[in-house]
């Protein structure tokens, strides 16, 4: 695995077409996926293309402290952040890690649940939940609109299955922040589904 990667890297540095092709096949979907959670559909392609340019230029300096995949994703995250910053759309880390009031308000002062306890959902599996078209659409929308680092951590962790360590590396945030971001993102999903279960309406409408 390690040797194969080293081999691919040398061939990329020599700018072999076949190596480009192989690398794109291997990493493009993961990169697009991450870019998408930062900047949405519209700009994901552009961000990933910029990321490839930066990566190929910087590759001779790649030190193999992480895997090529993690390194590429880190470049994607940086390109995406730069883009959002330019457009003044970068959400602050404080705002993204702030406590979710609509959940924390449901606990009373002694730390127990108040009157609004979690309602029982009528589903036992994600598949069952998503079989309801309106809820599926609602979840798509919610995930699409999560603050960028919440969306990115959720994407890397749940959809792409990366370890917390890799995520810290890719997003350049501390492990405790990764944990908080995941916590916030998951609770948003939880609250939105609960809202749907109670009212039949989407939380984002």
């Amino acid at each position: 695995m390690y040797e194969e990667e080293q081999e691919l890297i040398s061939r990329l540095i020599r700018k072999e077409d076949a190596a480009f092709r192989q690398a794109i096949k291997q990493y493009q979907s993961s990169m697009l996926y991450l870019a998408h959670s930062f900047v949405g559909n519209k700009f994901a392609d552009e961000v990933v293309q910029e990321a490839w340019f930066s990566a190929i230029r910087a590759l001779p300096k790649f030190e193999s402290r992480s895997s090529l995949r993690t390194w590429l994703l880190r470049i994607v995250a940086n390109e995406a952040k730069t883009r959002l910053r330019k457009e003044n759309r970068l959400t602050s880390l404080e705002a993204m890690t702030a406590e979710n009031k609509s959940l924390s308000d449901r606990y009373v002062s002694d730390g127990n649940w108040g009157d609004k306890i979690p309602i029982q959902w009528d589903c036992d599996s994600p598949e069952e939940l998503l079989s309801v078209q309106e809820l599926k659409r609602c979840m798509d929308q919610l995930i699409e609109n999560l603050p960028e680092l919440q969306g990115a951590t959720l994407n890397l962790r749940e959809e792409q299955g990366y370890s917390l360590d890799d995520i810290c590396n890719i997003l350049e945030v501390s492990e405790s922040n990764v944990r908080v971001l995941l916590h916030r993102a998951r609770n948003r999903l939880f609250l939105c589904i609960e809202h749907f279960q109670a009212t039949g309406e989407c939380c984002t409408d």
Partner: protein, 76 residues
């Protein structure tokens, strides 16, 4: 004894695997006794697993790959 709010604060960590033994123990003990948090925990896990299922495929087409290869080749 940890409170329901404490459960909420550590629930997500728990889903990501290794937390400290003490944390796991106190969380489990609380869950045995508290039906509300049991429900919250189960449904948080369900909500979180749902993200996996919303996957949009992003496989690049052959044309897209060739287009990008051209661009990378042209890099100086």
């Amino acid at each position: 004894m940890i409170t329901c709010k404490d459960v909420s604060d550590t629930a997500s960590d728990y889903l990501d695997g290794p937390t400290t033994l003490l944390q796991r123990f106190s969380l489990r003990l609380h869950l045995i006794m508290c039906v509300k948090c049991r429900r919250y925990m189960r449904q948080l896990k369900l909500a979180s697993g749902l993200a996996k299922k919303i996957t949009v495929p992003f496989e690049p087409s052959d044309e897209e790959i060739e287009f990008l290869v051209q661009k990378l080749r042209a890099l100086t």
